[in-house]
């Protein structure tokens, strides 16, 4: 009877049994025979009827004496024998839940069976070692995947090498090790490094090492090779001062390359208390690939930013030189606020005779292309002024040069500009000779407060050979100012209806400003235009003010010139 009952109770019957087990009661027939007691004490043969259970089964009476058991149970507990207690067989005491038998993880469940008033206890035991290992491996893999996903997200943001490196070492501790060091490939013979430690992962320190000071293993990693002699690595790291107060003999260290687009962008060093297994190394390399990509992007961005910075600096307007009797003032606001350069340009040079050459203009196009063209024009003027001092002839030579480059580049590029020469006069004023290359005529602030527009016309530079270039001479008494400006001033759209600022408003804005020094005049124009624009988009804006001052007063100030 017990055997029949045993064969009908399986895992499904006891699913969800509480820690006290589940009592299964069979109503026995009145004439049911008593449950047979085993006739052989110490029999070690498993009960064949129980063998079809996936789990092992051990049936004991209430005193804990084994009544029967199955083959899977015997495999788990080789000493089992009928008629003995579990303890007497050298088997551990069974409890509801997980236990360890030898090197195996076992899950056991108790089911109380009552047949014809006699209670027996059935223990279902299952070897879950492999299942737990698989589950642990899956959880570990998920954890690694989560870590790498989080790392990708956090490393993907900063386009700044310092932030990217800090993020990398912070993320690495404590998942990859108790200490993490990122070393960037040397630049100009110096390698930057960052370190985070388990004591406070948020705290990142760092420094710079020369090529000679780099640990050899790190040098190898920077060359794209993974060093094999891990034993020596801890010593090298200790010498570099990266282990802090940790004992070099009590740690395990690894270094991997941080791969870049062309070559290694850096190296990642991790220090742990235990040797990493293959999964740890896989995770380390996966993290290194992501950190390398982030750092590579940051380094590339840094290099490009440096190039852009250098080029912008070379293309941005420069401060005019001190020239006796001349006070300069300038304002410059590029159309693209993100750039410090644009299609407007101005400049001034001292001439060998003590006078000054000055100019302001505007090239076709916008942004970087236009700025590069302005650079070419400024260089052209810089070179041509040494062989030609007359403004009209200089513009004519410049026109030929622009036409030539336009043809060779296949672009219809042109410029408008006013170019002038300033000479001190005996009266303490300035004599200006102005030539126009199709630019807006300058305006003059007279000492009586009136404002004049200079009658000056000419042909665009770079459109036709032998252009008509008009010249005019303007006399400035001491304290009078000539203002050159780009069309970004008069064509600025603003006000209530989005109208153009126009020449008339510019004249109004400068009327009564005759006592202002040149820098203040330029600043005034820029301020008025800024107010008019009210935050709207605008073209490049440039202003150059030339004021006649007594020879001792050459103070100049360039407002809003990008530094």
């Amino acid at each position: 009877m017990i055997r029949e009952l045993s064969t009908n109770v399986n895992t499904a019957d006891v699913a969800g049994a509480g820690s006290g087990g589940r009592r299964v009661t069979a109503a026995a027939a009145p004439d049911a025979p008593a449950i047979p007691r085993p006739s052989v004490v110490g029999g070690s043969e498993p009960a064949p009827l129980l063998d079809h259970f996936r789990e092992g089964v051990v049936v004991t009476d209430q005193a804990g004496v084994i009544r029967e058991f199955s083959e899977p149970a015997l495999r788990l507990m080789p000493g089992l024998a009928v008629g003995r207690t579990l303890a007497g067989c050298g088997a551990p005491a069974l409890t509801d839940g997980d236990l360890t038998i030898g090197d195996r993880r076992v899950r056991s469940r108790r089911v109380d069976l009552t047949v014809a008033g006699v209670t027996s206890i059935a223990w279902y035991v299952e070897d879950v070692t492999d299942a737990i290992a698989r589950s642990d491996a899956l959880l570990a893999e998920r954890g690694r995947a989560r870590f790498l996903a989080a790392a990708s997200q956090q490393l993907g943001n900063p386009l700044h090498e310092d932030r990217a490196a800090r993020a990398a070492v912070r993320l690495a501790v404590p998942t990859l090790g108790e200490i993490a060091v990122v070393v960037l490939s040397p630049r100009r013979g110096r390698a930057r490094w960052w370190r985070a430690t388990g004591a406070d992962p948020a705290m990142v320190d760092g420094g710079v090492l020369t090529g000679d000071e780099l640990p050899p293993a790190v040098e190898q990693a920077l060359a794209g090779n993974e060093p094999s002699e891990a034993d020596w690595l801890a010593d090298q790291l200790a010498e570099a001062g990266w282990l802090g107060d940790r004992d070099r003999r009590a740690v395990s260290a690894r270094v991997v390359s941080l791969p870049g687009s062309a070559s290694a962008t850096g190296a990642l060093v991790v220090v742990r208390d235990t040797d990493p297994d293959q999964h740890d190394m896989q995770l380390l390399r996966g993290f290194a690939a992501r950190a390398g990509a982030a750092l590579d992007a940051a380094v590339l961005y840094r290099d490009q930013a440096e190039v852009a910075e250098t080029l912008q600096a070379s293309l941005a307007p420069t401060e005019p030189p001190a020239v006796g009797g001349v006070q300069w003032g300038a304002a410059y606001r590029p159309a693209q606020s993100s750039l410090r350069i644009g299609g407007d340009f101005y400049g001034a040079h001292q001439m060998p005779d003590g006078g000054a050459l000055f100019y302001l203009g505007d090239v076709s196009g916008k942004g970087v292309d236009a700025a590069v063209f302005t650079g070419q024009i400024r260089q052209g003027i810089q070179a041509l002024r040494r062989i030609e001092a007359d403004p009209a002839r200089l513009l004519s030579l410049l026109n030929d040069a622009v036409l030539e480059t336009s043809r060779s580049h296949g672009q219809g590029r042109f410029a408008t500009m006013v170019l002038g020469r300033a000479h001190s006069t005996h009266s303490g004023g300035l004599s200006l000779t102005l030539a126009s290359g199709g630019h807006l005529p300058p305006i003059v602030l007279r000492s009586d407060g009136s404002v004049e527009t200079v009658d000056l016309r000419g042909m665009l530079i770079g459109v036709v050979p032998d252009p008509r270039i008009a010249t005019v001479t303007v006399q400035l008494a001491p304290g009078e100012t000539c203002v050159l400006f780009s069309d970004g001033v008069t064509e600025a759209r603003g006000g209530v209806r989005g109208d153009q600022f126009g020449a008339a408003r510019l004249v109004d804005a400068l009327t009564g400003c005759q006592r202002m020094p040149a820098p203040a005049v330029a600043e005034r124009v820029e301020q008025v235009i800024g107010d008019w624009l009210g935050g709207r988009n605008h073209d490049d804006i440039a202003v150059l003010a030339v004021r006649a001052v007594p020879s001792g007063l050459t103070a100049r100030h360039l407002h809003a010139v990008p530094s």
């Binding site: 505007d362 076709s364 196009g365 916008k366 219809g412 590029r413 042109f414 408008t416 126009s436 199709g438 630019h439 807006l440 005529p441 016309r457 000419g458 042909m459 665009l460 459109v463 036709v464 252009p467 008509r468 069309d487 064509e491 759209r493 209806r497 989005g498 153009q500 073209d539």
Partner: protein, 111 residues
């Protein structure tokens, strides 16, 4: 306030193609004008006329477009003519010296 667009109407006769422009010629709209003229030059007429009666504004980039188009049209063995040039644009052409470089034929003299 939004910037006025540039509308371009094309009328073709055996002697010429007339492009009537209305609005502003600047950096944003100059490319559209250049493309329209390039399409016309696929079968070059004896003359390409830009009717500028409706043009309210032309900046330096717009002037550049006119210069480039003048060259392009002459390369195609045709001629570019500007007509109905308003006072504002005529003044700009005067300041920049382009009045003599481009062929301007107003039906009535500009005041």
């Amino acid at each position: 306030m939004e910037r006025p667009e540039l509308s371009i109407t094309v009328r073709r006769t055996p002697e010429e193609v007339v492009l009537s422009l209305a609005g502003e010629i600047d950096m944003l709209t100059g490319t559209r004008l250049a493309n329209a003229v390039t399409e016309v030059l696929a079968e070059p007429p004896p003359r390409v006329t830009l009717d500028l009666a409706g043009v309210t504004f032309c900046d330096s980039t717009g002037l550049g477009t006119l210069v480039v188009l003048s060259r392009k049209v002459s390369h195609a063995q045709s001629v570019l003519v500007l007509t109905n040039v308003g006072d504002f644009l005529m003044r700009v052409l005067d300041i920049t010296g382009l009045r003599s470089a481009l062929m301007v034929k107003n039906s009535e003299p500009s005041s």
